[in-house]
């Protein structure tokens, strides 16, 4: 695309955004007396998106991770993924939703309060705002949707210390880590007063009521910081505190089933449309943009990773293609509703070689055993995507621009430097919060019940020793 056509595309986007916002504004003024009610299309889409994200975790992530470990530990990965998911979902309903998505009074910059603990006040009639003024969805669906995000983030972390962590430690981790790390992160990035408030109040009043990272002006469409950088850092901390696997670097730890890994990666891709496009909270052109970006960035990355392997190592691999696909999905997560499709392709081409570098060169150089490359793919890919969001959102590059609610919903762009700085502040805060919080959580567990299984258990395999079962009885 030429610069001219990019600019035209950007202007067209701006114009349609402005029209959309003004239409919504006019419609709302006419119905000022009525509370908006949810649109059935938006609600149906959010219901489906929620289920798609569940599919990402079970069996998507379970198989993706499971295929990468040795067969003696396959069942342990499946069990950990499934049980972690279940624990986090219950915790979410009990106090997680409240900690993430309510006003936290004095602590509101960092975390919400307990006003909606046990989902008090949430029922079939309560609503939450989307990103369009006057458009709402049922709160109860939003609770379920966000619940799957909390579950998958926590489940992602276990890849870092696969094949050696005690199941009991993982169960405790599933309660403590979301509480100390994930719920505050979700609050800091995604809690804000909403489009109605933002349209009728000065900008600094809106910032004052928002979570800290939102207040920086950092954009994160579907959770590049909250989910991926967060999980990646936690996995690295866990891997380091747990220690390397017995026989690491001397014994073969080759994946036992790249077939299942590919099945898992495929389910992740399909489910990710719920993750990214569902984060739009309504079914419109922006969900469409998020969907298209989730195709294109992923596809570009899925080609780039094996291409670089072909050049640098001689053979393009399936694991490379699957890893590229996941890296692309991670990178587009913060940018899904902000970048233009061409920007998404460029992002995919860029993220794969960088992640490949981290999972091969950097990991071997620094000698940590992040077993399933959660740091190398999710953290690094998330950082690249988060920073790139600040560049790719520029309408001049085909991006959607940033909605300025005080200006009637016009799409603006503060400039590359200010926006990238805002993104960087978000990234840095995430790295620090997750790094410190995860160290506390894993440290606590290590000092009390211990993190790691005994060597004999690790040798025999976690399936038999921790669960009394075999994955395969053949």
């Amino acid at each position: 695309m030429t610069i001219e056509s990019l600019k035209k595309a950007g202007l067209a986007t701006l114009a349609s955004l402005g029209t959309l916002a003004m239409t919504a504004g006019v419609a709302f003024a006419q119905e000022a007396a009525k509370t908006p009610t949810p649109d059935k299309g938006d609600t149906a889409w959010m219901l489906v998106s929620t289920i798609l994200v569940l599919l990402m975790i079970v069996p998507g992530l379970a198989l993706f991770y499971g295929g990468l470990v040795r067969s003696k530990n396959m069942l342990s990965i499946l069990t950990q993924t499934l049980v972690v998911t279940c624990i986090v979902m219950v915790v979410w309903a009990l106090w997680g939703y409240s900690m993430a998505f309510t006003d936290g009074a004095g602590l509101n910059l960092y975390v919400g309060g307990f006003s909606k603990a046990l989902l008090k006040g949430v029922d079939t009639a309560t609503i939450v705002e989307t990103f369009s003024r006057g458009v709402v969805i049922p709160e109860i669906v939003f609770v379920a949707f966000q619940m799957t995000f909390a579950a998958i983030t926590t489940a992602l972390v276990i890849g870092g210390f696969a094949e050696r962590m005690k199941f009991s430690a993982i169960c405790v981790f599933s309660v403590l880590w979301p509480t100390l790390v994930y719920f505050p992160m979700a609050h800091m990035v995604w809690w804000w007063p909403g489009p109605e408030f933002a349209s009728t109040n000065p900008a600094d009043a809106t910032v004052a009521g928002a979570g800290m990272i939102w207040g920086f002006g950092a954009l994160d469409f579907a959770g590049g910081t909250v989910v991926h950088i967060n999980a990646g850092i936690a996995a690295l901390v866990g891997a380091i505190l747990c220690g390397k696997r017995v026989g690491y670097k001397t014994e073969s730890m080759a994946p036992h089933s790249l077939t299942l890994t590919m099945v898992g990666a495929s389910l992740l891709w399909v489910g990710w449309f719920g993750f990214n496009a569902g984060s739009n909270l309504e079914a419109n052109g922006y969900a469409g943009l998020a969907m298209l970006n989730t195709f294109l960035c992923t596809a570009a990355a899925g080609v780039a990773w094996p291409a670089f392997e072909w050049i640098l190592k001689g053979k393009p691999s399936l694991l490379g293609a699957a890893s590229g696909v996941v890296a692309g999905l991670v990178a587009i997560t913060p940018a899904a509703g902000f970048a233009g499709p061409m920007g998404a392709i460029v992002l995919g081409l860029v993220v794969s070689p960088i992640c490949l570098f981290f999972v091969s060169v950097v990991k071997n150089m620094l000698k940590y055993d992040d077993s399933l490359d959660v740091f190398g793919v999710h953290c690094v890919g998330g950082i690249i995507g988060a920073i790139a969001t600040g560049i790719l959102v520029d309408p001049a590059l085909g991006g959607a621009g940033i909605v300025d609610y005080t200006a009637g919903g016009a799409a603006v762009y503060p400039g590359l430097v200010p926006q990238v700085i805002a993104q960087a502040k978000g990234v840095l805060t995430t790295v620090l919060w997750s790094g410190i919080g995860s160290t506390i959580v894993f440290g606590l567990i290590k000092l009390t019940i211990g993190l790691r299984v005994k060597e004999e258990v690790e040798r025999e395999g976690l399936d038999i020793a921790e669960h009394g079962e075999r994955a395969y009885n053949m």
Binding site: S252, M253, A254, P255, K315, S317, L319
Partner: protein, 112 residues
């Protein structure tokens, strides 16, 4: 009686089995094994991890035959299992003390 143990390349199994059947050898036991001789292994790369794999998949065939058939059986296996490339395998011959057919109780030559 002799027990013949042959390590062969897996794709050669059908040819060897057919030629032994033609000689009148009525049974064999096949096991999937890994091994190496002069055939080097290969390198497998999984993301950042490189593994030098020395062992290659092979098949182990065991047949029990009367001593008179030994030469014919060795020739049959050798000619069918050979490709001319390194890694074709080896044949080991060991003396066989006793053989029993479990169903009928027949022994030695009657059990082969």
């Amino acid at each position: 009686m002799k027990l013949i143990t042959a390590i062969i390349k897996p794709f050669k199994l059908d040819e060897v089995r057919e030629s032994l059947s033609a000689l009148g050898v009525q049974g064999m036991t096949v096991t999937e094994v890994k091994g190496y001789g002069r055939q080097k292994g290969h390198t497998e790369i999984y993301r950042g991890a490189e593994y030098a794999v020395s062992f290659l998949p092979k098949l182990k065939i065991e047949v029990a035959v009367k001593s008179e058939m030994l030469e014919a059986v060795i020739d049959a296996i050798t000619s069918k299992a050979k490709t001319g490339q390194i890694g074709d395998g080896k044949i080991f011959v060991t003396p066989l003390e006793q053989v029993v057919r479990i169903r009928t109780g027949e022994t030695d030559g009657d059990a082969l």
